[in-house]
């Protein structure tokens, strides 16, 4: 038994091999472990969204879902991708320098710190709870600070979150210092384009991590010691990391392609000069573009456009790299396909796909449409699943036999892995993009159940499973190779030759044969190549300048700065001025002293200026009203800052939905609202109804329309009427009697997704039963019917207590104007099983308002 364990450890961690091989094996073992757990997180997310799409029910609690989403990102980005890249860079550094590595403690400390950080970022574990699993308290997103900061956000993350970040930062600094020091000391004056890329990419890591080092520790000091936090500047500092972290993951894959593509085709790189310039430009532009994630905040237009152009600066080295890699294989009559070659071509195509959509995202006028939607998620999944991961696999298929001294167990499994990764990865990106094009917000546990949305969600799950199956086959092949791989001898071979030999064991040929491409004949002159390089680069710059110029006028009118608001919308005589405050988790509106929550009332074809901010205690929010036939309204709201949204209301009266577009806690998608465009005289005519019905269907967050005189409103398990937030818009005839019946079951209130009963004990169902027995099945909330007259004045028509297990009915005669029905006031909700919630453990509370809707009156 002991011998078996010893052999297992030696096989996994390659303890009998060289130091750099042991480091790489350590990062691979831990990286794969985090990928498996991170993959399970993705499965949890897919199960929740698919279950909701197919049946309107939630299978997990909101905090489990959001923790799963966060941890999926953390475990994949840092535990898997960054860690393996760190191992690969240590391996390459030793091989490139040929030096005996010194100060090895720096690398081992770094690897211990990065793995410890992933544990800490999960938050505390509560094993004694009967229903809350290890995900309480959930984790945060520093990109959305002050989310999770005690005193600035009612959703508070555990202090282990900040400790996790500090460990991650220190790990990166230690590793980066070692790689750069080792390269510099041993390669003085002998750098080539690969070592320059390795050095500058490592420097990019080092500089990039300085931003979260400042912002996350500022948040930590704020949450623990009450140090003041400027929400916008804290977020801006973090976002310096936001772009560079993508390039920290992207550039190692680029380094891999720069190294293995020439190796695979037995040719030198097309242009070493172009490669070096690419490395320099990548480094220069990657760390200085934080605002391109924050276009729709309060920065003036000139800042946004300047950042757009600087982001285009990053496109130039990418275009140069695409040319250089593609041209390197031009004219090569290579005949034998291998798995690394297939993954390299896949990674190249994925880089182009994700790269060009990245240019779209960087363009202010395009970002104004797709900002915060699933499209953005599709873009970065394209970068990760179609470029970074295939690039790493291309290298791993060559490195593993070299490190282990054994061939791959099965060529067939390797090729299946390739095809499933290709098909699954493409499907994931395409269906995420599709959801974004439908206007669906990212990080959405609940979403409008429209036809295309539900089918996209289901297909996204199918392709995720295909992708996951591919990775299972890869792991099986790795394990098979450890025990059943054919012994291979790489003694005395240079690294390039060793890698080619390793690649040849995954040949596509049925016989397993491999034919190496012939070397270059030297028939093409350097000057003609140089002309091609310069022309290509000049064309790229010219096209980017053209695009910037053509899209600038619309881009200059985007964002929430007061300076972007046209003068005609600042005239109080001709514009309806409304102040909007985003609370956690509800909206309040103030129009000339008249305050409403959840909705605001306007007239058709009227100029409106919304002056928005976030309340203290609500980290941040986003006013998202995608009126596809009028205007996209999508601005971020910050504490202590004012963000302005200007628009002319639709000419067609009716109800237009909006949503909080930014994650501010696990209940953020319950934060819907309605803009009520009041018809003249308060009565919708037949043609208006038809026109509204035809146009509003394109707007995803506008509630569904139901026509009739008698309506049954059933409370869902997640605290909405008829699975819609806000509830469906009801159409009743002027002068008729409308009947609304509200039906509430015990199970719907007892659901952990519902917010009507606070979670203070792990036996909360019993607690609810006891409460209802003592209070005649009544909850302390009033269902109301409120009339809004055509001038916007509100009057309560009738109200009754909300009763569990019995239908509560209202009847009223429809008068001109509109009505608001349901639980119109926000309800306080908090989660603290056994009283554990605190700023050290984490906490979640807020005011919820999702059980209400609007009645419109027709002729």
């Amino acid at each position: 038994m002991f011998g078996f364990v010893r052999t297992l450890i030696r096989t996994i961690f390659q303890t009998d091999k060289s130091w750099e091989s042991r480091v790489l094996a350590f990062t691979l073992a831990w990286g794969v472990a985090w990928a498996i757990v991170g993959g399970s997180d993705a499965l949890l997310v897919r199960v929740q969204e698919t279950g909701y799409s197919l049946g309107g029910s939630l299978l997990e609690t909101p905090w489990v879902y959001y923790a799963g989403l966060t941890l999926h990102a953390i475990r994949f980005l840092f535990g898997f991708a960054q860690q393996i890249e760190m191992g690969v860079f240590v391996f390459l550094t030793v091989k490139l320098t040929g030096a005996l590595p010194t100060r090895r403690w720096m690398i081992w400390s770094s690897l211990i710190l990065i793995n410890a950080s992933i544990f800490l970022l999960e938050g505390p574990v509560l094993p004694n709870s009967s229903f809350l699993d290890v995900y309480f308290s959930a984790t945060g997103w520093d990109s959305l600070a002050p989310l999770g900061v005690n005193g600035y956000s009612q959703y508070v993350v555990s202090v282990t979150w900040w400790a996790g970040w500090l460990f991650l930062e220190l790990s990166t600094f230690l590793w980066g210092a070692w790689v750069m020091m080792t390269l510099y000391r041993n390669l003085k004056g002998k750098f080539n384009y690969v070592s320059i890329f390795v050095f500058l990419t490592t420097l990019l890591f080092f500089v990039g991590y300085l931003a979260p080092f400042v912002s996350t520790n500022w948040e930590w000091l704020s949450t623990a010691l009450g140090v003041g936090l400027d929400t916008l500047w804290n977020q801006t500092i973090f976002w310096f990391f936001g772009h560079s972290v993508v390039y920290m993951l992207f550039l190692p894959a680029v380094v891999v392609l720069y190294y293995i593509i020439p190796t695979l085709v037995n040719r030198p790189i097309y242009s070493e000069r172009m490669a070096v310039w690419s490395a320099v430009l990548y480094f220069v532009f990657s760390d200085i573009v934080p605002i391109h994630h924050l276009y729709l905040t309060v920065f003036p237009a000139w800042v946004n456009l300047m950042q757009e152009i600087m982001t285009y600066g990053v496109v130039v080295p990418s275009v140069m790299t695409f040319f250089n890699l593609w041209a390197t294989v031009k004219g090569v009559k290579q005949v034998t396909w291998t798995v690394p070659m297939a993954f390299a071509a896949f990674s190249f195509g994925g880089a182009v796909a994700a790269g060009v959509t990245g240019v779209a995202n960087a363009t202010v006028s395009v970002d104004a449409i797709i900002h915060n939607t699933m499209w953005v998620v599709g873009h970065f999944h394209a970068m990760i699943d179609l470029m970074i991961i295939p690039g790493l696999f291309a290298l791993l298929y060559m490195l593993q036999p070299v490190i282990m001294g054994k061939s791959w167990f099965s060529r067939r499994l390797a090729w299946w892995h390739f095809w499933l990764t290709l098909v699954g990865g493409a499907g994931i990106s395409i269906f995420m993009d599709g959801l974004g094009l439908d206007g669906i917000l990212r990080r959405s546990m609940t979403f409008p159940l429209l036809g295309t949305v539900t089918s996209d969600e289901v297909l996204l799950t199918v392709f995720s499973l295909v992708f996951g199956l591919g990775q299972i086959l890869f792991i099986l092949n790795v394990v098979g190779s450890m025990y059943g791989g054919r012994p291979m001898n790489f003694e005395g071979l240079p690294l390039g030759k060793s890698l080619t030999l390793a690649a040849s064991t995954t040949s596509w040929s049925p016989t397993g044969g491999y034919e190496e491409p012939p070397p270059a004949r030297g028939t093409v002159s350097h000057s003609s190549k140089r002309r091609a390089e310069l022309t290509w680069t000049a064309m790229a710059v010219g096209l980017l300048v053209l695009n910037a110029a053509l899209t600038a006028p619309v881009g200059a009118a985007s964002g929430g700065a007061l300076s972007t608001v046209p003068a005609s919308y600042l005239d109080p005589g001709g514009t309806t001025m409304i102040n909007v405050v985003a609370h956690q988790y509800y909206w309040s509106f103030n129009e000339g002293g008249s305050v409403t929550t959840g909705f605001f009332v306007t007239s058709p074809d009227t100029k409106v200026l919304l002056n928005g901010t976030a309340a203290g205690g609500n980290a941040l929010a986003n006013f998202y009203m995608p009126l596809f036939n009028d205007k996209m309204l999508d601005n971020e709201l910050y504490q202590n800052y004012n963000s302005y949204l200007w628009f002319t209301t639709p000419t067609v009266p009716g109800v237009y939905g909006f949503m909080n577009g930014e994650y501010n806690g696990p209940y953020y998608t319950y934060m819907g609202g309605d803009m009520l465009v009041m018809p003249p005289g308060g009565v919708l005519n037949e043609s208006s109804v038809q026109e509204y019905n035809a146009t509003m269907r394109q707007d995803p967050y506008t509630p569904p329309l139901v026509e009739g005189s008698s309506f049954l409103l059933q409370m869902s398990a997640w605290g909405t009427w008829n699975n819609s937030d806000p509830a469906p818009t009801l159409l009743v005839k002027n002068g008729s009697t409308a009947r609304l019946a509200f039906n509430v079951t015990f199970d719907s209130v007892a659901s952990l997704d519902n917010y009507l009963f606070n979670v203070t004990s792990s036996s909360y169902r019993q607690q609810l039963e006891n409460y209802l027995t003592q209070n005649d099945n009544g909850l302390p909330y009033m269902l109301q019917i409120i009339h809004i007259d055509p001038s916007g004045q509100l009057e309560v028509v009738s109200q009754q207590q909300l009763i569990v297990g019995r239908s509560v009915s209202f009847s009223f005669t429809a008068q001109p104007g509109a009505y608001v029905y349901g639980l119109v006031q926000p309800v306080y909700h908090y989660i603290s099983p056994g009283g554990v919630a605190s700023y050290t453990m984490g906490a979640d509370s807020g005011m919820m308002e999702a059980l209400w809707g609007v009645v419109m009156v027709t002729e």
Binding site: A327, G331, K333, F348, V356, S365, V366, L437, L550
Partner: protein, 63 residues
């Protein structure tokens, strides 16, 4: 004609272009709110892909 690494990379560019066209044209035609925003970017994308593909076909071999 053999399916070389160069051909595979060209296929990758072609598929990326198709993805981009689907996305950008989809955004542009979605409604009046997005038409003017995305129109020029779509034109730019198509032009860029066309120019680069033609240019790569004419670039000298790595030989």
């Amino acid at each position: 004609m053999k399916f070389t690494l160069f051909s595979a990379m060209a296929l990758g560019v072609l598929l990326a272009a198709m993805l981009l066209v689907w996305e950008e044209v989809g955004i542009t035609l979605r409604g009046s709110s997005s038409f003017s925003n995305a129109l020029w970017f779509t034109v730019f994308s198509l032009l860029a892909i066309l120019v680069f593909v033609v240019f790569m076909a004419r670039a000298p071999d790595n030989d």
